[in-house]
């Protein structure tokens, strides 16, 4: 960890050659697996995340948790033991993973139209295959795609993005692992981009409160950009599937 490397160099390039407000390359695929009702795979830079959705189905396990007016959403976040630099001893169940599951649940509850499925349960399983910064946003984006693949109605796209502040007060978005470690504060935002509502906000480390508006603003813009990319991917997927049954030819 050399601290003399600037997060943004003199010419305005970051450690991986991006500009301050550039997102990493996003590649995604829907409908990977046959067993789950919906599945998706997303790559944001080097971070790779898989998501699978089962449901809506009858409440399994504890029947008393069933709600009469909405579905319950069961989220499980897990990191593969080979996903980080050092081999992870506990893939799930430690405090950080439980916290991630809770945050994921919080974000998804805001986006899914749960009131359409009383007495039911929707399971969302997320697995991180390679963690290179921005794990939470990648999980949220993957979960959104998987839900769309499963055909569960959503209020709108749910996207998430990280943002940070470089030492010379320049906001950056989509933080990689190196940049996280090197000491910059990280702001994670999950939002419904079309309506501009923030669903989850998390921050670690510290920076002055006056910088918050611009960092938040850039993060929300990042969410809108991600939404456009995801939208493109979903439309392509539908076109592919549809063309095999002949929908595309009718337009």
């Amino acid at each position: 960890m050399s601290r003399n490397r600037e997060l943004i160099s003199n010419i305005g390039l970051r450690l991986d050659g991006r500009r301050a407000l550039e997102l990493r390359r996003i590649r995604c695929k829907l409908g990977l697996f046959s067993e789950p009702d919906g599945s998706a795979y997303i790559e944001q830079g080097l971070t790779k995340v898989l998501a699978a959705v089962y449901g809506p189905h009858q409440v399994r396990g504890n029947r008393s948790k069933a709600q009469h007016d909405c579905a319950i959403v069961n989220c499980q976040f897990s990191m593969a033991v080979f996903s980080t630099g050092e081999r992870k001893r506990r893939p799930r169940g430690d405090r950080k993973s439980t916290e991630m599951s809770i945050h994921l649940h919080q974000a998804l509850i805001a986006a899914i139209k749960v009131e359409l499925y009383p007495w039911s349960q929707i399971d969302v399983y997320v697995e991180v295959l390679h963690a290179d910064g921005g794990i939470y946003p990648a999980c949220v984006n993957a979960a959104t795609l998987a839900l769309i693949d499963a055909g569960i109605p959503l209020k709108e796209y749910l996207c998430a993005c990280t943002a940070s502040l470089a030492s010379n007060d320049i906001p950056m978005i989509d933080i990689s692992h190196q940049e996280e470690i090197m000491g910059g504060p990280t702001l994670t935002v999950a939002a419904l981009p079309m309506s501009g509502k923030v669903v989850l906000l998390e921050m670690s480390q510290r920076f002055h409160v006056d910088h918050l508006p611009k960092v938040l603003d850039k993060a929300l813009k990042g969410c809108i950009d991600i939404k456009n990319i995801l939208d493109e991917a979903v439309k392509n997927n539908v076109r592919e599937i549809g063309s095999s049954t002949g929908w595309a030819s009718s337009t």
Binding site: I102, K197, L200, L201, E202, S204, Q205, R206, L212, L220
Partner: protein, 413 residues
């Protein structure tokens, strides 16, 4: 053992609270951005403090130990922060279960204090890669009346500021840890004091309440915890619950929090300074000074309480040996010393009965005297008309008047 369920908030309570909010009032009379009083008390040990934020109470203790440092950070000490939700705080807290609230509180406090590098960990190093001080902050929640996180963060900071670790000297190979009596212990170096400030959000940002109570927390849609220090630097931010907020509201809240943080940090520093002065002057320190003050209720106050009990308008008849009608008007003016009688009800338990209610006690408790009365009450209800009765009802019904009906009949006109 079977779980005691969490107290469910009824729809009436929820609607009432929301209605009050629309009228710009809070149930406990505070303003929307007013915080409850903070009281910080210290114990006899270094690093022990009890903080109460209104009715929410929390006990924090800092202990230290020598450990091997983490391999990724060989010259830094270790700081562990742990919040325990004890069964003493709320009936639904169990000693073994780790529910969502537990994880959330722990992680937010950890992020606020550890990730923001509030404590100088480099100064806790004794020998690089071999021995470092490991600080452990245990926060025990004693009473849950809303906003545990604020209280816990204040307690953790006060305890860290108050704590002193033993002095260590090195002579070549050996390290000597000195007792507190041999050498003065050293306080911990704290760079800045990040306090957590929580706001409850109702109706998608329409109402924002600072420092929510238990009921307000339960009714709220979402909450925002802001970790801030006195330099107005954000040390942690957490938006939770079913939130769908406009970013402007968030910015607004963080601005408000900035002012509050400065006040709280001042209070912490002042409290610790006063405590240290007390120690130097050898004054009596410890919890017993403030926490254990019992209220003295005078006998006269007790008497007036009992009198209120008697004077309250009577709808149903209480049987007395005296004339019923005459009493209803006159007793209201009487404030003489009433007499109490102690009745034994079986071995090792007794009942304190004021004289007036003796007859009632008799019919209620001892069924062997008036067995019929208890069973046949419905049949024996008689409508009696009374003169000058306080009751607003047209006809007053006399209950459990089996043995007394004869007397009543005599009185009626």
């Amino acid at each position: 053992m079977s779980k005691i369920r969490e107290y469910t908030i009824s729809n009436c309570e929820k609607n009432f609270l929301l209605k009050c909010l629309k009228d710009q009032t809070r149930l406990d009379g505070r303003a929307f951005d007013e915080f409850r009083n903070i009281e910080i008390e210290f114990g006899k040990d270094y690093g022990c403090c009890c903080v109460s934020l209104g009715q929410t109470r929390v006990l924090a203790q800092v202990t230290c130990e020598i450990q091997v440092p983490k391999s990724s950070r060989p010259s830094e000490g270790i700081l562990n922060i742990n919040i325990e939700l004890n069964p003493i705080a709320a009936p639904n807290f169990e000693p073994t279960s780790k529910n969502d609230l537990f994880t959330q509180l722990n992680r937010t406090l950890e992020k606020c204090l550890k990730d923001s590098k509030a404590v100088d960990l480099e100064s806790l190093c004794i020998k690089m890669s071999e021995k470092v001080w490991a600080l452990r902050v245990d926060v025990n929640v004693l009473n849950h009346e809303g906003n545990i996180l604020d209280c816990a963060s204040i307690a953790a900071l006060s305890a860290l500021h108050h704590f002193r670790r033993p002095d260590v000297t090195c002579d070549g190979e050996d390290f000597i840890i000195h007792k507190y009596s041999q050498r003065d212990p050293i306080p911990i170096v704290i760079h800045h004091y990040p306090v957590c400030i929580t706001y409850s959000i109702f109706e998608r940002g329409e109402f924002i309440l600072a420092d929510p109570t238990l009921l307000e927390e339960g009714v709220a849609d979402a909450f925002l915890t802001v970790g801030m220090n006195s330099y107005k630097e954000l040390c942690g931010l957490h938006l939770g619950g079913k939130a769908e907020l406009n970013p402007d509201i968030l910015i607004q809240i963080t601005q408000k929090a900035g002012n509050r943080a400065g006040i709280v940090v001042e209070q912490i520093k002042k409290a610790v300074k006063e405590e240290n002065e007390k120690r130097l002057e050898d004054k009596s320190i410890g919890f017993h000074n403030k926490l254990c003050s019992t209220k003295n209720i005078d006998f006269e106050d007790l008497e007036t309480c009992f009198d209120q009990w008697r004077i309250a308008p009577k709808r149903k008849h209480k049987d007395t040996e005296k004339n019923m009608i005459g009493e209803t008007v006159e007793e209201q003016i009487q404030t003489e010393n009433f007499s109490v009688k102690i009745e034994k009800k079986g071995s090792q338990s007794a009942v304190l009965v004021p004289e007036e209610f003796e007859e009632v006690g008799r019919v209620w408790g001892d069924s062997d005297e008036d067995e019929d009365a208890v069973v046949e009450i419905p049949k024996k209800i008689q409508t009696v008309s009374l003169l000058d009765s306080d009751s607003e009802e047209e006809s007053t019904i006399v209950l459990n008047a089996n043995s007394q009906t004869k007397k009543m009949e005599e009185i009626t006109i």
